[in-house]
């Protein structure tokens, strides 16, 4: 019997959120005395067996190139077949965009209870209870999964990637009866060279206080110096100053980086909802009464146009 981890990948690589899911699944397998196994659909540009160092012992690999696009219907079919073969008691996904597309279908398919958005290891002392993010970051819920097979989708940045002493994973080629996807992918537009916002450890975010898109260079310079992703408040995305995928908050992306630097953002409740799981929040705002200061760890009251370039200088000096 196993904990089966769905090994998500994009651009030929297993990204951080997926490595977190592997580490998380391996830890639960250890706790429950099950084997940590992986399901890899499609192909990687890197060595598959070496994923063993994150604790996965055996990886079922379906090399069909049709699986390079994560079609939820086809993936559900294949994962269900692997789950049966592997004797999965628990299936772990990353709650990234692919996990959100696929895990609910697998749940309905196997009648396996799903907790989407887990933020901690399950409590198995009395039943099987998983802590998840609810009310868009304003609270947590403890969800009991009552079915024999269980599914957890782990929120990005909620569990650390853990490298173990583990040996290379055994890679088992798996042939699945893969149907034709009924959704045809005609084009793929990848955002290149940017740190994906959902996975970023540091996020530099700007609001209406930056006055216009032409001023974003000061924020981008700071982000580049820090190796951070950039984000923005909703009115900024609505005004097309920044692309929609940078919009964070209750009605945008909810993120949980280690450090969130908010520049010229008032800190409305709907904005805070998407960012208040950040470990540390630093706020730069010229209004000392801005609500964001109440939710922050560090603050500077002052003009962003003066302060931000000085922060960038200080980071550069620090990093040499």
């Amino acid at each position: 019997m196993s904990v089966l981890i769905f090994i998500d990948h994009s651009d030929g690589a297993v990204k951080k959120a997926s490595l977190e899911a592997i580490s998380y699944g391996a830890k639960i397998a250890e706790q429950l005395g099950l084997t940590a196994e992986g399901a890899l659909l499609g192909n990687l540009n890197e060595d598959i067996a070496s994923l063993g160092k994150y604790g996965v012992k055996k990886i079922y690999h379906v090399a069909d190139v049709a699986l390079d696009h994560p079609d939820p219907q086809v993936f559900t079919e294949v994962i269900a077949q692997i789950a049966e073969k592997s004797g999965a008691k628990l299936i772990v996904f990353s709650n990234n965009l692919h996990g959100k597309a696929i895990a609910p279908r697998v749940s309905a398919r196997l009648k396996a209870g799903l907790v989407a958005g887990a933020v901690a290891l399950p409590d198995t002392s009395n039943g099987f209870i998983v802590k998840k993010n609810v009310f868009s970051g304003k609270a947590f819920a403890f969800i009991s999964i009552n079915t024999d097979i269980k599914i957890i989708s782990l929120n990005p940045n909620a569990y650390p990637v853990a490298v173990t002493e583990g040996a290379a994973a055994e890679v088992v080629p798996f042939t699945a009866a893969v149907g034709e996807p009924r959704i045809k992918v005609t084009a793929v537009n990848k955002v290149t060279g940017e740190i994906p916002l959902g996975e970023a450890e540091i996020v530099v975010s700007g609001g209406r206080g930056l006055k216009g898109p032409e001023n974003w260079n000061i924020l981008e310079d700071l982000a580049a110096a820090l190796g951070a992703a950039t984000a923005c408040s909703r009115p900024v995305a609505d005004a097309d100053w920044r692309p929609h995928h940078e919009h964070v908050g209750q009605t945008g992306l909810a993120i949980a980086p280690n450090l969130y630097i908010a520049i010229g953002i008032s800190g409305a409740i709907q904005h805070l909802a998407g960012v208040n799981r950040s470990k540390v929040i630093a706020v730069i705002n010229k209004d000392p009464e801005a609500p964001f200061f109440k939710a922050a760890d560090y603050g500077i009251v002052g003009d962003a146009f003066e302060i931000v370039p000085k922060l960038t200088e200080a980071v550069k000096a620090l990093k040499g």
Partner: protein, 247 residues
């Protein structure tokens, strides 16, 4: 063309989130309720736009909820839609809700089922995918764009690190997010006509939820803020480096 739009009732975005009964129940006292923004701004408005383009289109709204969800569904009808169906049950979990909607969809023979990307209360983003699986339909998740030409769908969906442009044929299920449409305000005519639009109440089919809520917790408050003088911003970087150890 028949479209089914899934509507959920959620607390207003400014609602105070607190719990009662030993942290097992959401404290509903004094809470304002709204249509889940993803359902309203994107799923419903996009369906209305499709009907504006092809007036023969019929839009039904569905919600799984008790009688107290009716003001929300009337509010949705004021924006648009021809009639609504309320499944008379409280939504026990995503699977229970999806199973009820799948049953309505089977009976209604819809070409297109729209859900919001997720609800802003439970944030599971699960109902759309579950409906699709229960009905064995294709599922376009996290769509930011959706167009229809005859029965051919062209849509853009968000994937890790970018977007995919996809094509498919009806029928299918789509979860909708920002980009699909723009928020609308209901007009007087809409509000008046919503009062008389049919709102059918049906009893739920017997389905066991797969999960139950054992309790809630609110995050601990912040320890307090450290202010850095505006004439020395470098101090913030020093603190983030030496104290918080994040850079």
């Amino acid at each position: 063309m028949k479209i089914l739009v899934c509507i959920s009732k959620t607390p207003d975005t400014t609602a105070k989130i607190a719990f009662t009964d030993n942290n097992t129940k959401f404290a509903e006292n004094g809470v304002q309720w709204i249509i889940n923004p993803y359902d309203e701004w994107y799923a419903l408005v996009r369906a209305i736009e499709l009907k504006e383009k092809d007036p023969g289109t019929v839009i039904h709204l569905v919600t799984v909820g008790e009688a107290d969800t009716e003001p929300i569904i009337r509010k949705a009808l004021a924006l648009g839609g021809d009639e609504a169906i309320r499944v008379n049950a409280s939504g026990a979990d995503s699977f229970f809700i999806a199973s009820q909607i799948a049953e309505i969809a089977r009976q209604g023979g819809y070409d297109l089922i729209f859900t919001g990307k997720e609800t802003i209360d439970y944030n599971s983003a699960a109902v759309g995918g579950m409906i699709a699986e229960l009905l064995q339909l294709p599922y376009i998740s996290l769509a930011v764009k959706f167009d229809l030409e005859g029965s051919t769908v062209t849509a853009t969906r968000e994937i890790e690190g970018g977007e995919e442009i996809v094509q498919a044929s009806l029928p299918l299920v789509v979860s909708c997010q920002k980009g699909m449409a723009e928020q609308r305000i209901p007009n007087m005519k809409g509000i008046m006509s919503a009062r008389t639009k049919p709102l059918k109440v049906v009893e739920p089919v017997a389905v066991d939820p797969l999960t139950t809520i054992a309790g809630f917790e609110t995050p601990p408050p912040k320890a307090g803020i450290k202010m850095i003088p505006a004439d020395n911003p470098a101090e913030l970087i020093r603190l983030l480096h030496e104290e918080a150890k994040l850079i």
